[in-house]
């Protein structure tokens, strides 16, 4: 053995100072990694992709249900979660991608500390997402009309998805160290999520294990036993499992085994609870809302009309009152139906959805569910306001129809009656169009969109929340009403007050009304194609059949 001259070995050198913990290293790394994650172009892109569509759909006339907003945050954050998954995966793979592992392996901090740093960094992004969730809900509450109160557990789902996605990204980097794994995981998660449909809420089962469960267009009141707290616990368990699974890549230790067992228990237990079908009591409560709305609604009187709403929707009463009062003010005092109330109801389309699923055996039987709403002579606004731009017009038309004696719902065969040729249809259309500015705008817009104003369509159909209306309005009557709307309202109001029966009576023809009010004669109408009995699609595909002459 060669020796270097004059040198000999000595005893061990003095012990180094007490070592700082790996936890401190992980925390210090987390601060760096969190900053990089939050500035990552992938994350910024995902965040914009999450938020901008919502801003694009912003409509100041919509009354937002904050309960649905809170639920919807989970869907809103899915692109952000996917971005965090990819970004955290790339960050954890960074040393491998850039060939820095060899250097890092010579350093005192173990790879587990780096992994811990990446996991902790994800919590910063989740905290940011939480702040964003609060901002979204608060922003809606401050800038728009709202109803209901957001459920905190529902709001937490979105940020938990972000945390889980980030932890999954780190886990994949440690177990499947290729950049291709993260995008594949995103697709797999999306496919799994799409297989858990909205019926899961109403049926229970494995489909409740989806990462979020959105009720679609159903009102919250029709969602018995939603169990958001258990869903949060389920997600917390999944996130913890992902974190433990990541650290296990560096060696199995007793604390990890214990933590993993606890996480698995929480996730499995919560999953079992939330997979139970809604309870009988839950269904009974939902059924009671449909069957006996009056037992659950609070009522108030405005301008001589009684308005009844489910508790969370009482803030909608002023929105209803505007078009109803607008119609009532233009109807002579003695002609207004004295017993007309405004009572909120679940729409026929929602009731039909539930009924179809009962028939298909997906839902348990709900004795009172009947898709067809009887005409009880009252007005029945729906469970929301503003999402349909014709809300004002729909309610005003219902009030006006009631005032002139036209039906408000389809006939027993489901057909909308034909009001063409009837002078009271002109009166009803004018009453509705002048009720509020929005109602008039909607009438003009619809008449144009359905090519009634252009003379290419025979009827104007105003859907009632995707449900066929009671009346199909003839093009001639629509034209006369639009002409009347161009006149001073007081002038028309005065003419109606002077001769209500003559103008709005059931036997008065359109020609007679036009003559009495000095309206321009109707131009030659569209080809006299008989559309009675044919089904035509309107709106989002609602089928409308036009039946016989309105009684």
């Amino acid at each position: 053995m060669e020796t270097l001259a004059g040198r000999t070995a000595v005893a061990s050198p003095p012990a180094p100072p007490a070592p700082p913990a790996s936890v401190a290293t992980a925390r210090a790394l987390a601060r760096v990694e969190a900053g990089k994650l939050l500035r990552s172009p992938v994350l910024v892109g995902g965040g914009l992709f999450s938020l901008l569509p919502g801003l694009g759909f912003w409509n100041p006339s919509v009354v937002f249900d904050l309960r649905l907003t809170a639920i919807g945050i989970a869907i809103t954050f899915f692109p952000l979660a996917a971005a965090v998954l990819i970004a955290s995966n790339l960050a954890t793979l960074r040393s491998r991608r850039h060939g820095t592992d060899q250097l890092y392996e010579s350093l005192p901090s173990p790879a587990a500390a780096r992994t811990g740093g990446h996991l902790l960094a994800v919590t910063a992004v989740a905290a940011f997402a939480s702040g964003l969730a609060v901002l979204l809900v608060a922003g809606q509450a401050l800038l728009a009309d709202t109803l209901g109160s957001p459920n905190v557990a529902e709001m937490a789902v979105g940020p938990l998805l972000v945390a889980g996605a980030g932890a999954l990204g780190v886990l994949l980097a440690r177990w499947v160290p290729t950049p291709a794994a993260a995008p594949v995981a995103c697709v797999a998660i999306a496919v799994f999520q799409m297989s858990t449909t909205d019926t899961a809420l109403l049926t229970g089962g494995w489909r409740t294990l989806g990462f979020w469960t959105y009720p679609g267009d159903l009102p919250v009141e029709l969602l018995p036993d939603r169990r958001p707290g258990w869903h949060v616990a389920y997600l917390v368990g999944l996130v913890a499992m992902a974190a433990v699974g990541t650290l296990v890549a560096h060696g199995l230790r007793r604390p990890l085994v214990v933590a993993g067992a606890v996480a698995l228990s929480v996730a499995a237990g919560s999953a079992w609870v939330q997979s139970r079908p809604p309870s009988a009591a839950g269904w009974a409560a939902a059924n009671a809302l449909l069957e006996r709305p009056g037992d659950h609604q609070a009522c108030e009187e405005r301008d001589g009309t009684t308005y009844c709403a489910y508790p969370a929707y009482r803030s909608l009463v002023p929105n209803w009152a505007k078009p109803v009062s607008g119609v009532r003010r233009a109807v002579p005092a003695g002609a207004w139906p004295a017993d007309l109330d405004v009572t909120q109801r679940v729409t026929s389309s929602d009731r039909r959805w539930v009924a179809d699923h009962v028939l298909a055996g997906v839902l348990p039987a709900l004795p009172a569910v009947d898709a067809a709403l009887p005409d009880d002579g009252h007005l029945h606004p729906a469970m929301g306001w503003g999402t349909e731009r014709t809300d004002d017009l729909t309610l005003a038309l219902a009030a006006a129809s009631r005032a002139v004696g036209l039906p408000m719902v389809p006939d027993p065969a489901g057909a909308s009656c034909d009001a063409s040729g009837q002078g009271r249809a002109v009166v009803a259309l004018w009453l509705a169009g002048q009720a509020t500015g929005r109602a008039g705008d909607a009438l003009r817009t619809l008449a144009s969109a359905q090519e009634v104003s252009a003379g290419r369509a025979r009827f104007l159909v105003v859907l009632q929340h995707d449900t066929p209306p009671g009346v199909a309005w003839g093009a001639v009557e629509v034209g006369h009403a639009l002409e009347l709307l161009r006149r001073p309202a007081d002038e028309v109001r005065g003419a109606l007050a002077a001769d209500w029966e003559g103008l709005a009576g059931p036997g008065t023809t359109t020609v007679a009304v036009a003559t009495r009010l000095g309206l321009a004669p109707a131009a030659d109408g569209p080809p006299a194609t008989d559309v009675h009995g044919e089904a035509t699609r309107y709106g989002a595909g609602t089928e409308v059949r036009i039946g016989d002459r309105c009684p």
Partner: protein, 287 residues
Amino acid sequence: MSQITVETAGLRKAYRSTTALDGVDLRVGPGITGLLGPNGAGKTTLLRILATVLAPDGGTVRLLGRDPADADDRLAVRRRLGYLPQEPGLHPNFTAFEFVDYVAILKEMTDRRARHGEVRRVLELVGLGDQAKRKIKALSGGMRRRVALAQALLGEPDLLLLDEPTAGLDPEQRLRFREFVSTSPDQTVVLSTHQTEDVAALCNAVVVLDQGRVRFSGTARELSELARGRVWLAEARDPAASLAWRTGDGGHRHIGDAPADARLVEPTLEDGYLLLLGRRAADELAA
């Protein structure tokens, strides 16, 4: 008596059918030890084992009085170690400061203020103080090498292992490197390089590796002395020489058994190295 900080005995390492180290015995103390050898000699493998990144297949290693095969000792060694790999793999989107700071965290410097002060110090030391905020991908090859060097200097390690530290550096930067690498007399530096000038300028000890074995271990002067009386100049190439090459003034320098009338010259470290390893080393140095 001087202390030994790096000691190996019978060190072996093989990669499949290739033997990288074949019974390396080494004793290194404080000061700068140059590790010379042609490509494939096993220098990088040896440094990786000393950096505790790679475990040997056989033999023993003691670093700073500890056995890196033991987990606790290995951690203790890593806390006093600075390592510059041959290809350090920097993060292109990090700034120079961010990268060195990141390594500093992994060196358990968790106090942010103190750590940032140390990062600024080492960046200044390698001449990158004014480039700290530039992204690594925007730096030249030489600057990137200096970033990598800076991280190795963090915490003034007792044992500094540098694999090709001056690769890509221009002559001025190499001079500067020589200044700061030799600052601490108590520090042990093992410097693997092809640059015999650096070894000659810096190293008080030299180890020559070839095909996984130590061919020489001694002082730089002793390596040069191997070529005493065996280096001569001539106008024309002498076919009797073991090695010969053209010099800048048009003549030829020869190494080998000098003819009687040869104009002998003072041997350099490079002459001793070439005499030891022959044509293969000469081709690599010329490349």
